[in-house]
Symmetry: C2
């Protein structure tokens, strides 16, 4: 298997951490960013950074690198347009937190590229190069999309990079990803904002009494709002479904508390869901292999992701799952 | 100032931690609990534990101890009835997470006791004696209620115990406490339950992708539902107000996302509220003193709590604030 160099466009928290992790794994790496702050910080940490995206991308074409789009969603179109002009055939992935709009943009700009949509489920509420580290993805789940057109050898090459970063690859469709993250990433940000505001409306006394439950429940409200907006607004339809489910459950809780005085159904359901997460995390999954050259490889990958499995290794044409 | 012994009724997470912390501060302590599991664990850790509440309370009368009610809200009435029979004049406090119902129960059962309602803003999602420690209250805020009838020398004696446990005393009224905790403690539990359930409704893939935002936002859904029910359902009217505020804000977010595609107002307000909490936490508060024998002492204490101040020391008839 070819160990490709890695070209990262965008050197914020995620892109910057990926650049470091790929370098730590022994890959040749370089980046490009329009942020002079991130560029200067990355250069002073010893990395090669182009200030022009087209130059970084042209170098990727010369060296058959994996190009990683690590810019915020609103900047994806412009970045893809540059890639389509300067490296139309490159192996392409991204780390943007919604997959539908990126997938559409890829089809629009660069129909010929080999593209695997990516989303590492890792982060902190801080942002920028300085907030990153080569260990950010350690033990994280990292979605890699599988669609009808996906070239599975490209998928395997991107999975290899993900594994080298310390993460595990979760194969899933673009649509299933966006539905899932609306529930477990975007809705948490919306609820954190709502909780933060309702708490602060209680005045200084409320802030003085705020302890663990409020602090944890509002933690991600510390993220820069423009980053949260980009990911939430970019996943509008699935997020609306998730918000409607939350409104339905919160309204039912309100009704029960007002009429019968009981929050039993709400709290029992929440506790049961919490237990499901712990069970998922502590369940041992037997190792197995999927032959990527088999005719049903695509279905096998998607079934693996749907039952919560991950790709934990690559061995020639096979991926090892667990 | 008399250093009174401490008698704790209920030896779960909070009562058990208080028993240990008071002992570590050099107080004579004993407890009582109807839980044989907690009793056995406390005894094997070297503490004196009565299996009968009446005997523990009678000993408190003999020794002029502070009696701490540390039972769940549904057991408060029975505990107070025993205290009223066996130690009607004792200095009484409690650590129950809502103050209105306890205050009413105290008036009903033991009009003659000197009572200061208490609520330490500390805890973990675990429960029982084994989950506690003498450091649980380190740097925590600990509400002590100030009402028209409150004997301020009793207030000072309870504040002294709170300080010895490593916490800081926040003076406030029963009603202001219950409004505040509805927003920063009870609503977080309800939202955590809602978020946990909406996430788990996304199936195994959603659980596989759940990262920090979902984990933090659902953490307190791991608490035993019967404990959460007791505190939330015991604070019904203020919690209904807080839930209505959350429903209003979440509904507005839903409407804006559906109509304009923007979550800007919601996320900006949440981020601003989050900043308010950080500012509160990093603001230095100058030391001052309140003379508890002065005619306006009650108002001074309540004003201190309303502006987010705390009592950090006791010096004769004075409390030191910061």
């Amino acid at each position: 298997m070819i160990v490709r160099p890695v070209c990262v466009i965008g050197l914020g928290l995620i892109g910057g951490s990926l650049l470091r992790a790929a370098a730590a794994a022994g890959r040749q790496v370089w980046g490009a960013t329009l942020s002079t702050v991130d560029a200067e910080a990355a250069v002073s940490d010893g990395f090669l950074v182009e200030s022009r995206v087209d130059k970084a991308v042209a170098m990727a074409r010369e060296r058959d690198a994996i190009v990683v789009v690590a810019v915020p969603l609103p900047a994806v179109d412009q970045t893809l347009s540059t890639i389509a002009r300067h490296a139309p055939d490159c192996l392409l992935t991204d780390v943007v937190s919604v997959k539908g709009p990126v997938d559409e943009a890829v089809r629009r700009f660069t129909t010929r590229v080999r593209y695997v949509g990516g989303h590492p489920m890792a982060g902190t509420s801080a942002s920028g190069w300085e907030a990153g580290s080569d260990g950010l993805f350690h033990d994280a789940s990292w979605v890699l999309t599988v669609e009808d057109e996906t070239d599975l050898s490209a998928w395997r090459d991107v999975a290899q990079l993900v594994l080298e970063c310390g993460a595990q690859a979760v194969p899933t469709s673009v649509a299933a990803h966006d539905d899932a993250v609306a529930r477990i990433s975007h809705l948490p940000h919306v609820l954190a904002a709502v909780l933060a505001a309702v708490g602060a409306d209680g005045g200084t006394l409320a802030l003085a009494l705020a302890a663990g439950s409020y602090r944890d429940g509002t933690r991600v409200a510390g993220t820069r709002p423009e980053l949260v907006r980009a990911m939430c607004e970019g996943n509008r339809a699935p997020l609306l479904d998730a918000v409607d489910d939350a409104l339905g459950r919160l309204g039912a809780a309100r009704g029960a508390l007002a009429s019968t005085g009981s929050l039993g159904a709400t709290l029992e359901a929440g506790h049961q869901a919490w237990n499901q997460l712990q069970e998922y995390r502590t369940t041992a999954r037997p190792k197995a292999r999927i032959d990527l050259s088999a005719p049903d490889a695509r279905e096998a990958l998607l079934a693996l992701g749907a039952r919560g499995g991950r790709v934990i290794g690559v061995d020639g044409d096979f991926v090892i799952t667990g």
